[in-house]
Symmetry: C2
Subunit: 353 residues, 2 copies
């Protein structure tokens, strides 16, 4: 299996090192061979080549079975123009790979319950929400511009969706729900937006092919409340690129451990892009405080979705769960036996063995 | 003072009755004369005239010093076309009055702390956030459409802002912050959107006129996390129409008492539109369970902003606080001495005397 690794910036580089250790260990234990190469991406690529997503990196990604990404961005590149920033590279990467389906599981680890900002009684039934976010359409990629007008400027962005774009992401969500609690909540703003009304109509159509999955609809403003009020009502949340950006961050914060949350971006075949939900955290880069578990759990998603090795994936998940039960923590997870980034990576490898 | 009252639909009608009782009582106590007339608006106006915002209602609103609105919408009108729905009336009302500044205070009442979904340690410093939401621009009013394409449809909406629109709402936010904790958090998605980059630039410019007010910027995804992680970091949140819709609902849910939260929509002079943050709640309409306090507190905002009667406004707020301290509750507020809608209205009047 060919894996392109993009460490990126800030703590991205640090957590990727630990994830690669774990991949090594899996390779040994299960006798799976990985062909792993690193490429520049994000701010460090801007420094070297003047662009966040250099041709060489793109070619390598397009030829790989899976891409493992750390995180990009930092204050150093914040003042660049929109199309020259690390974030522009991220958008170009997603688009060039056509990974339209971003899966972001927000799970409450029972040993980390106390890290959640929510009252215990709201967490009785745990918290296990899968946000399925459309990733290559919507306002992230629509027509945009800034025009000089009589007084100052007018700037605009376009939220646009086609039937086909909505259909394919809806299928991903309904299929995911089949392997879970069989419930999809589709989130839109259909009382205002034309694009949301099309979204709702198409999702209703697609749902007819999944009579075993329950479907309900929520407006984005209401969903942002319901997530806090009664998070256990959710199984799969299906939504647009922009709303998914907001809701997945909110949902992950509810678990209290955003440093634990992985993501996968898929396109219907086996190829996938895997990355932690957290960002490049420039404030703690270099301090060895970064939590590598989100990236390590992203490797588990890679093994499951791109390499069909649910056994190895679950092995990693089990190792992580066990070491948490045994009290090992990175600083972001609260009190316990505190480990630094490297020590946590080593600990996962140890529990895997 | 001329007040146009639009009870609307569902519990809107019920909570407005109680607010009018309180207004009556204020009129008597302070010797202020109000000229109050009711008009059809929302679903009930659709039933009667085929349009949610009839000419007669519009004329009355444009001639009034203040407009008091209950809530609109309900399942009966959910299947109508976008431009014929109760929500279209709400947008037309806001636009015709040009009330571009929506103020939504999210306050934790100390006697209702246990109703918040957040852990107590996060609420040590209370919670008192004012969301200043741009209300007459952005994607709510941008160009939109649905086109037939080769396969299915393409639907789009446009998020657009001009320098002038951003300037005027920014001034409202900075002025509000001056009377509070002197901190503005401007929320956008400037790493992706052109409209957000203009937003950020203009807000930075305007902030120079308020050197006594601290300004910071957050991305919408991060803000939706920060609100849960550390709500006491916020004083005034300044944001666009769509992001404000989402964040104000999230913030109000954090207080645990959305049935308590008022709002004011202003345009820089004395005219204002006042309404509770909660909706028409068709599920409890007619059961006498609706909490009228949000509407009653909206009357307090009206007295403060439109009629310059901070004394009377604070009198209402004090009455509400006292009766909560004494244990009176509507069912949404948890356990205590449970009152129905009418009884709660009467109780406020009693405490006012
Ligand atoms: C960094 C940013 C462009 C990105 C996004 O908005 O998609 C991030 O917030 C995410 O959720 O992956
Ligand atoms: C009913 C709806 C159109 C409205 C909005 O989105 O503005 C509501 O959610 C609000 O916040 O006042």
């Amino acid at each position: 299996y060919k894996i392109a690794v993009l460490p990126g910036d800030g703590i991205g580089k640090e957590v990727i090192e630990e994830a690669l250790k774990v991949l090594d260990s899996v390779s040994e234990k299960y006798g799976i061979e990985f062909d792993i190469k690193k490429y520049l991406f994000g701010g460090c690529a801007i420094d070297e080549y003047g662009t966040p997503y250099p041709k060489e990196t793109e070619e390598a990604c397009l030829e790989s079975d899976a891409i493992l990404l750390g995180a990009v961005g930092g204050p150093k590149w914040d003042d660049l123009d929109g199309d020259k920033r690390p974030e522009a590279g991220l958008l170009a990467l997603r688009k060039s790979l056509d990974v339209y389906a971003n899966l972001r599981p927000a799970i409450l680890f029972s040993s980390l319950k106390s890290a959640s900002p929510l009252k215990d009684e709201l967490l009785k039934d745990g918290l296990d929400v899968l946000v399925v976010r459309e990733l290559t359409g919507g306002i992230y990629f629509g027509e945009r511009g800034t025009e000089k007008i009589d007084y100052g400027y007018k700037a605009y962005d376009t939220e646009a969706y086609t039937t086909k774009e909505i259909e394919r992401i809806a299928h991903i969500a309904f299929k995911a729900a089949r392997n879970r609690k069989k419930k999809v909540t589709s989130v839109d703003k259909a009382n205002i937006l034309d694009s949301s009304r099309l979204w709702r109509k198409v999702v209703n159509e697609v749902s007819k092919e999944y009579p075993d999955v329950e479907l309900n609809h929520q407006y984005i403003d209401n969903c942002s409340m319901q997530l806090i009020k009664d998070p256990s009502q959710f199984d799969v949340i299906l939504t647009s690129n922009l709303f998914g950006d907001i809701l997945s961050d909110e949902a992950s914060q509810l678990t209290g451990s955003i440093g634990m949350l992985p993501s996968a971006s898929l396109r219907g075949d086996k190829v996938g892009l895997y990355e932690p939900v957290h960002g490049s955290a420039p404030d703690i880069a270099g301090t060895k405080k970064a939590n590598p578990l989100a990236t390590i759990l992203s490797v588990a998603m890679m093994l499951e979705y791109s390499f069909d090795r649910l056994d190895a994936a679950n092995d990693i998940r089990k190792a992580v769960n066990e070491l948490l039960e045994d009290g090992y923590r990175t600083p972001d997870l609260g009190s316990g036996i505190i480990l630094n980034t490297e020590e946590m990576g080593d600990m996962v490898v140890k529990y895997l063995k």
